[in-house]
Amino acid sequence: MSASHDYQRVYVWEQPVRWFHWINALAITVLGVTGYLIAHPPAFMISREASFSYWFGTVRFVHFTTAYVLMVNFVVRLYWSFAGNKYANWRSFFPLTRAQLRQIWDVLKVDILQFSNKPVETLGHNSMAYFTYTATGLLTIFQIVTGFALYAPTSAAWFPHLFTWVVPLFGSEYTLRIFHYAAMWLFALFTIIHVYLVFYHDYVEGHGVISSMVGGWKFLEKDQIEAEQATGMSPLPSRKPDPKPAAKLKPSG
């Protein structure tokens, strides 16, 4: 085994990406919880006069305010996909090249179905993950558009009224509301899988995926980095022939 346990630190996630990630995570959590409360307000049978209480109004206020945070944050991230480094670039999010598609297949084989143990080494996300984030981004856009369309009638601001055209597409606000609510569940499902997979990759590969979203650094074996830089296709896979697949994968111990 030529590769000693020799790691190199690589700066992958720049500040704006990390800020985006955590603000987005927080906003989605807040929106999910308040959205659920709006759909299913808990029963308070102990009642005061309505004039002394405004908790449901506050929940809605938090939901609407957080929606603005989510949206602005998302727009900044869109900008950064043009201005940021290659790991944040918009191109990575669309699996259009043969190499990206091949990597998606590799990820399915190695990480999801586990037919193969040969790890897929990438510095950014792998192509499969990037594609998942594209889907999540589309979901976010759907929630922004439908959410502001639903919010428009209660707002005097100009911005939500840009989305009033959405209601006729769904026929009525009631139908729109059901779709907006159902999409929340997709975020919940995404979160389960996302958090699990981050733990999985950190656990299995030991490249510091979890901490990378805090400090921005990832750790990769030196030979892997060299291979990747040689291809010039980062964050695409290094498809160089593995010098010692047997040694790496099947210690016959």
Binding site: F44, M45, F52, W55, N117, M184, Y203
Partner: protein, 378 residues
């Protein structure tokens, strides 16, 4: 306006007819002010309305009935203000309406034919009911003509088209899933002229009158929202004008119709009230001479002025069945089920990972050989 003036120059004006029926000047002006207020106009508009009614002559009106239950007509006839029914039924003059006209058979059809040829481009077309397209329109045939053919024929020369109620505006119960007759609203069929959707099942009588008065007084179509409804009556949510709204903001909800909260008049949101997504004037104009409206009487709004409200059932649930997943499948049930499956998949994947990748975990390449264990090969 000129086109209206051409009609029957010698006939008495609407106002003259009203006076001859014993309406005094004071009542007439009160009516004008009242209509102006309903339309959300400034106070000076009352004079404009009065002037229009004083000077204008009868507008010919054709009121077509297709697949409907006549609840729109019933609502209109029970309009609380006598002048409304008078002015609109007697004075604007209904030239043709299946349910109210004295004539029948060939005579009735002749009147219709005369009206649409003689007053081409001048008459108002009011449509009640949806138009079936299934079975070549055989589901609704009047005088040997399908509803579709009649509508095309009458709409061609109409000055303006009003779709009364949910049937004509969005199909109502006939268009509910699976829509066996392929019932369509007027706006889906008549594409070349604007259709005023006066929504509701039925619409409020005063709203119907208000829309007609607007057409009469200003000779143009009122401002419409994105779904073709007059903004004067459909721009506000029932929720935002609701008497129980304070309870909503305070989070005080009726949990079931017989609980203490129901007696206290709390918000009906959790027992399925559609007020938050329904646009209508129920909470302001109310029904039956301003007596009450469903929410005031303790029953949630069913959203009858919105498209597809029959399909968004059950009426007594806040979140209803998610489309495409069959009966009793709310978004929550689907979400929880899929969430459970995902959680199970994640757990088994974690177990699988430890089994399949146990050798790899915690070690970098070469680590095994470094540690001197009997690692594979050189």
């Amino acid at each position: 306006m000129n086109s209206l003036m051409k009609i029957n120059e010698t006939a008495p004006t609407i106002y003259e007819q009203m006076v001859s029926r014993g309406v005094d000047r004071r009542d007439f002006l009160k009516f004008c002010a009242w209509m102006g207020a309903y339309l959300g106009l400034e106070s000076s508009a009352a004079a404009q309305i009065a002037k229009a009614i004083e000077t204008k002559r009868r507008i010919p009106v054709v009121w077509m009935h297709f697949q409907e239950c006549t609840c729109c007509s019933e609502s209109f006839l029970r309009s609380s203000h006598p002048i409304v029914a008078d002015i609109l039924l007697d004075k604007i003059s209904l030239d043709y309406t299946e349910t109210l006209q004295a004539a029948s058979g060939f005579q009735a059809e002749e009147i219709l034919h005369d009206t649409i040829t003689k007053y081409k481009g001048e008459y108002l077309l009011l449509v009640e009911g949806s138009v079936p397209l299934g079975a070549d329109g055989a589901y609704c045939v009047v005088a040997g003509k399908s509803a579709l053919d009649s509508l095309h024929e009458v709409a061609a020369g109409a000055k303006a088209i009003i779709a009364w109620g949910n049937c004509a505006s969005s199909g109502c119960v006939q268009a509910a899933n699976p829509n066996p007759t392929q019932a369509m609203p007027v706006s889906a069929i008549i594409k070349d002229k604007p259709v005023i959707n006066v929504q509701g099942c039925p619409p409020i009588a005063e709203v119907m009158a208000g829309v007609l008065v607007h057409l009469l007084a200003f000779d143009r179509i009122p401002q419409l929202d994105a779904l073709g409804r007059p903004k004067a009556f459909y721009s506000r949510r029932v929720h935002d004008t609701c008497a129980r709204r304070a309870n909503y903001d305070a989070g005080l909800f009726v949990e079931s119709f017989d609980d203490e909260n129901a007696r206290k008049g709390f918000c009906l949101y959790k027992v399925g009230c559609r007020g938050p997504s329904t646009y209508n004037s129920c909470a302001t104009i109310k029904w039956n001479n301003g007596t009450s409206y469903p929410i005031q009487s303790g029953h949630g709004c069913i959203g009858c002025s919105e498209a597809k409200f029959w399909d968004n059932g059950p009426f007594y649930q806040r979140l209803t069945n998610f489309p495409g997943f069959g009966i009793e499948s709310t978004a929550d049930k689907i979400g929880l089920t899929v969430g459970g499956v995902v959680a199970a998949a994640v757990l088994s994947h974690a177990v699988l990972t430890n089994v399949r990748k146990g050798e790899e975990i915690g070690e970098g390449p070469g680590e095994k050989s470094d540690s001197g264990k009997p690692a594979g090969q050189p």
